[in-house]
Subunit: 350 residues, 2 copies
DNA sequence: CATGAGCGTGAGAGCGCTCTCACAGGCAGT
DNA sequence: ACTGCCTGTGAGAGCGCTCTCACGCTCATG
């Protein structure tokens, strides 16, 4: 009956073959493979031996077909510019996600739509049930994707706090607290005219970091001054422009908190060009603790984010949601850490 | 007959249903979906209408099961540190790969093994036939993966020239030519004592960039001086150390070509600390054109690599190999471009 | 007017797996 | 000794698709 003729291509071993070798039925082998408790120890051993001997690996497609799960998770990155090309946020995040998914035996399918057409194809792909869940990174304020996926019953978790209105689980760093600690550090260093170069207010990270800045001022009893708050777009160039305007509006400025390292780098260049010494005259702190922070002169103090941990957390949340049909949106906020470098060293002597 | 009862979960439409609605057989619908030419135009239209109406999307698992292809490609990134966290090489590469794969209707499965155990699991996963091909990024010199996959009949393409002995298609940038043009530029700027901070010699990129440096010296008839060649490991710190040693060995140095921007940044800091003005006293060029290049003071001239293009190319090669069982290894070398910034501006006046 | 080629279409097997259901055997309780 | 129950195992259906093969039709050909 058995017809062990050499098939075309590399025909991997099947359940059937394992079952035959172990002298049991397909069902039993399946139970062993899937760790069912209702298999007697000796049968389990026989089957395991057969599996090892044949080097059996389950066929994912066949399994998916019947279980209607794909055991794979999509990571969708919709960011045409910005972070993608300025600091290694994504690789680190992906590493965190990847390691968590590997531990949970899930595949990571990466989608990086780079055109509008691509984006709608992405949405179709996701709703077609090819993945068990989706992990969305840095979507625009008006991205319809989360709502669309949720409506289609696809579990979704976001990286970064979504704009209000979006009801979904997310993981974010504590931007507000991070900014607050940075500014508190500047004030503790004896600075009193502390400016901020904020991020875009329509991005959660931008808005939150600005709030943190204000928190710290309020804590220290320093009144807020609109002239000390300038909004940039996280880029180096915008940081430079903002710094120029700050120096014009308040020449007595003695500290700057920039909502990104790149903006801080831009600010440093403008400060140097204007003869201000850092940190002697002006103390500077950035945000992100990107590689840029150590290449500036002086090196930049910065707020470090637990990026890999975010990746782990977001993947964990998503897999939990997939497994448990967990409908309650969860939110996880991770703490940041201030890394002190030369740019915000205390005044040599007051 | 039709039983449009609501099934459990999201039960997507099947071929069967489309066939029924269009009044044809499953086989015909399958032919239409797969673009077979042997379908009469009117039948094709009917079927297409039914597909559109029902929003039919083929079930990938079922298809894979019978075709024995997964239509997905693995991208394996085995880089614990280095490039992963220092510049946005990977996101840009992934973007190139992703866009090419999307156009070719393939899925991108990302694998980032971060432990040794993980690596062997990765190898097992890949050889288990879950993917049609693999794209390997930055493997170590002694990585057994390419050989193992090739032996298992899995098409493989590498990003970056492999160490000799590995027979596989690859895509790389012209490191030698890029370095050569950078050094030629320094010499054209009137520099004569040109040093290099090279990359590790056991990495192709390190070795090739060193060769390019020597090429340019030879072209200009400048004899090579071992004291002017110091090997770093691509990090900022190693660049700083190397610069210190160079200044000691040859205080008359008037130009430095660093094989990475980070090493160049380290060198800049040491030059500044030693009172050397850049570019007036010493001219500096880096490699990679990473974001760091614009945050240093002065901004860093650098050799730019076509990273997205590499991604496209490598994906194209791999899919071609998968489709055509293309057994002849191909190699693609992409040109670089020198980006001139302040750090290598010509001498104000000799 | 029979024959054969060619084309479009349908019937049906089968890819490798999971999972329900039936059932054999052992054991305790009456 | 009979019933009932639990536990471990096997038989078999079926997931949605592709692909081979057979078949019916139309046309050109002898």
């Amino acid at each position: 009956m058995a017809q062990p003729s050499p098939r075309t291509r590399r025909s991997s071993t099947t359940l059937e073959e394992v079952a035959h070798l172990a002298g049991v039925s397909r069902a039993t082998v399946s139970r062993v493979v899937n760790g069912s408790p209702k298999v007697s120890p000796d049968v389990r051993n026989d089957v395991q031996a057969a599996i090892d001997r044949l080097g059996y690996v389950p066929n994912r497609a066949a399994r998916s077909l019947v279980t209607r799960r794909s055991d794979s998770i999509a990571v969708v990155i919709t960011e045409p510019t910005g972070r993608l090309f300025s600091d290694p946020f994504f690789p680190r995040l992906l590493r965190g996600v990847s390691s968590e998914l590997a531990a949970r035996d899930r595949q990571l399918i990466l989608l990086m739509p780079d055109t509008i057409a691509d984006e709608s194809r992405t949405a179709e792909y996701l709703t077609a049930g090819h993945v068990d869940g989706a992990l969305l990174v840095s979507l625009h304020a008006d991205d319809p994707l989360p709502a669309r996926l949720t409506a289609a019953g696809i579990p979704v978790v976001l990286v970064g706090r979504p704009h209000k209105g979006v009801k979904a689980s997310f993981v974010d760093v504590d931007n507000r607290q991070g900014a607050q600690s940075a500014v508190a550090h500047l004030i503790a260093g004896g600075r009193r005219v502390v400016a901020t170069i904020a991020g875009p207010k329509d991005m959660a990270a931008g808005a939150d970091r600005l709030l943190g800045y204000r928190d710290a001022l309020a804590d220290a009893g320093i009144p807020a001054d609109p002239n000390l708050e300038i909004v940039g777009d996280f880029t180096q160039e915008s940081g430079a422009t903002a710094m120029g305007r700050l120096l014009e509006a308040r020449p007595d400025i003695d500290a700057v908190f920039a909502a990104s390292d790149l903006m801080a780098a831009g600010a440093l260049a403008v400060l140097a060009a204007n003869g201000r010494r850092v940190p002697a005259d002006v103390s500077v702190v950035g945000f992100d603790d990107s590689p840029v922070a150590t290449t500036t002169m002086p090196q930049l103090s910065s707020v470090r984010q637990p990026i890999e941990a975010m990746g782990h957390e977001v993947a964990r949340l998503l897999v939990d949601a997939v497994e448990g049909s967990d409908l309650v949106p969860r939110r996880v906020i991770l703490a940041t850490e201030l890394v002190r470098r030369a740019s915000s060293a205390g005044r040599p002597s007051p």
